[in-house]
Structures are given as structure tokens and as C-alpha cells.
Symmetry: C2
Subunit: 205 residues, 2 copies
């Protein structure tokens, strides 16, 4: 196994990016972080885990978008500690956890701007997974139980939310090739082959 074994994954919803990460981590025998990250952050920060879970769920609707864009923080109504808005506290705590788990050894981390948080580590590789709309809709319905009602619009809305979050915190551009070490269309190569290719990629680096 090469020294380059920290992999961050950004992904379009329904592209299978999370599953690719989970399977690759299993195959390589290294930890995989997603919701676990939130749980760790909750414990270390002194916030109750419920608050983190609530904030994480809210990320799925437009409230977080407003928070990120500073609408709430400008009024100060949601500030909880000094001058730092809640959502920025969450980001800071999550970033600390990301840095800690990366220090502990090889791992795979999905979402949460981990590529940006770990940008100064030479041993960290970043991937972005996307897929065509038909593939994503099918996966969202079959794997995550989404209803078919306005499914395209909902996926597009989620893309926008992820892009806003990522662009706001990283100052980079979500889904732009040059922001990532490698990007893949999972609908073109398939989930299984994406896992194989990324394993090859990590070996080659």
C-alpha cells in the first residue's frame, strides 16, 4: 500500500460516490468516515449529538443555504458563542475532526469539504464522482427510496446546495475538474469498476 491512502470524495447525489468510498475502504481495510464524523465532532465539541444531527438534516433544505450565505448570522439570531455563527462553529469542529482522523492514518472521507480541509497534506488524494441524470434518478429511487415525483428537480436542487456549501467554505468551484486530483463518471464506468480504478490510482501515486 502506498503512503497516499487518505482519499476524500466529493459527489453528486445519486452518483454512488458514497458507496464507492465505503466499498473501497472495506477492500483496503481502512476506516470510512461520513456520519461517524458528525458523531465524533459532537462528542468533542460539547454540543449534544442531537444538535449536530438536526443541523445535518437541515442541510437538506434551504435553511442551511441561508445560514451559509450569512442571512441568519447577519441578524445574530442564531449565534451561540461569541461572534461565531452556529454553522461556522459546526464547520470548524468538523474540520478539526477531519484533520484528526487524517493524522491517525489511512482513511476515506466523504463530503464536508474534506479535500479543502486537508489541502496542505501531500498524502491526501481527492476525487469527485458524478453520473448522468438517468443513472442518478434510478439510484435515488432504488437505493434511497426517493419517490419519482419531481426527482430531477430535487437532485438538481441538492447539487446546488452542495455546490453553495463547498464554494462558500473552500473558495473553490464544486465539480470543476481542476479542483480534484481525479474525477469519474460512475454511470460510464460502473460502481464496481470505479472502486477498482480508484484503488489503482492510489497505488500509482
Amino acid at each position: 500500500m502506498s503512503k497516499h491512502t487518505i482519499l476524500t470524495i466529493g459527489r453528486q447525489v445519486g452518483s454512488g460516490g458514497r458507496e464507492i468510498g465505503r466499498r473501497l475502504a472495506e477492500q483496503m481495510g481502512i476506516p470510512f468516515y461520513d456520519k461517524e464524523l458528525i458523531a465524533q465532532a459532537a462528542k468533542k465539541s460539547g454540543f449534544s449529538q442531537e444538535i449536530f444531527e438536526e443541523a445535518d438534516e437541515k442541510a437538506a433544505n434551504s435553511l442551511l443555504y441561508s445560514l451559509v450565505m450569512g442571512v441568519y448570522s447577519a441578524t445574530g439570531s442564531l449565534r451561540v458563542t461569541g461572534d461565531e455563527p452556529l454553522v461556522e462553529q459546526l464547520f470548524r469542529v468538523q474540520s478539526e475532526v477531519i484533520r484528526e482522523v487524517a493524522d491517525q492514518g489511512p482513511c476515506i472521507i466523504v463530503g464536508r469539504c474534506a479535500d479543502y480541509v486537508l489541502r496542505n497534506r501531500a498524502d491526501c488524494a481527492s476525487v469527485f464522482i458524478h453520473a448522468d441524470m438517468e443513472f442518478r434518478c434510478r439510484r435515488a429511487v432504488e437505493q434511497y427510496g426517493f419517490s419519482e415525483y419531481k426527482i430531477r428537480e430535487r437532485l438538481q436542487k441538492e447539487d446546488k446546495r452542495r455546490a453553495s456549501y463547498y464554494n462558500f467554505y473552500s473558495g473553490k468551484e464544486w465539480g470543476k475538474a481542476r479542483e480534484y486530483d481525479i474525477t469519474l463518471s460512475s454511470s460510464k464506468i460502473g460502481i464496481d469498476n470505479a472502486v477498482l480504478l480508484l484503488e489503482q490510482y492510489l497505488k500509482l501515486r
Copy 2:
């Protein structure tokens, strides 16, 4: 060898995308098209090769940008046949050649919106190669003999030109991950490893 052996390569100037394509084609024993494409197009179109070479050189400065943006074609001053501006004739002829060489069998084609031209072929894979600015400057100076004077600005200008050309003809977004089947940073993985990984990619598809 899999059936998917037509590969199109888009790339930032100085990223080594052309060299990666040439080496991969050599290794796979299949044709590689770049300037050759222009020569073939020239013969078939009835234009002299000089006109094509001239147009190709002009693509390096802002004239083509103006042409593509319709400034010249709007005045009609550079129209040569009926209502079709010269630059669009060139694009059409080049696209025909791209389709012909793709029909003939496995090959690798660099630049010229080949991914867009061949978008309806399921046996065609598209890659985009990029690299960090330091790597690109070094390659441009060492491999292509660029002077170091304002090298960053010149590379950025060339990126803009390629993006304008690609976006105009394809209606897509140059360098955006979702427009390509796979993208790679050559400065992160290296030229040799990029060739190996792309060969793996084509085998897996």
C-alpha cells in the same frame, strides 16, 4: 482490448495531455490524431493546407476568439462560401474527419472538441487533463521552448481561448468534471502514471 478504444483528450496547455495521448496510442498500437487531422481535413475539403495551417496558428491569438464570437462573421467580411463563416467551415470539415477516423477503428484524438463531435458513440471515452500552474509553466518552458516572460498570463490566456472555442461549439463547459468520463491532474500522478491509469480505464470500461 475492449471495444471502447476511441479516446478523446481535452487538456490545459502545459499539462502534458498531448504527450499522454501520444504515448498511450503508441503503447496500445493505435493511431493518434492531432495535426494529422488538419492535414487530412485540408485534403478532403479542397482548401489548400496552408489555409488550414494559418487558421490553426491564428487560433493561438485573439483573432479566432473574435471569429468564434461572431464578430467577423456578422460583417460577412471573412465569409468564403455562401453564408457559412470560414471558421465554421473549418469546424465542420474537421468534425467530418474526426467522425471518419473514429469509424475506421480504435484511435486517440486530442483537442478539437472531438468529445462533442463523437458524443453519440457509446464506444468513445473522453478525458480531460489538467495540472497545477507551476508544473505547467515548467513544461511550457522546458518542452515547448516558451520564454519565462509573463508565462502564467500566457497560459491563462490560452486556457480562456480553449474554453471559449469548446464552449461555443459544444454548448458545454470546458474543464467541468461532468462533461468528461474521467479527468486527471497530471501534476499529481505524473505523465507516466497517467498513461498507465488511462490504459486501465479503457480496459475496465
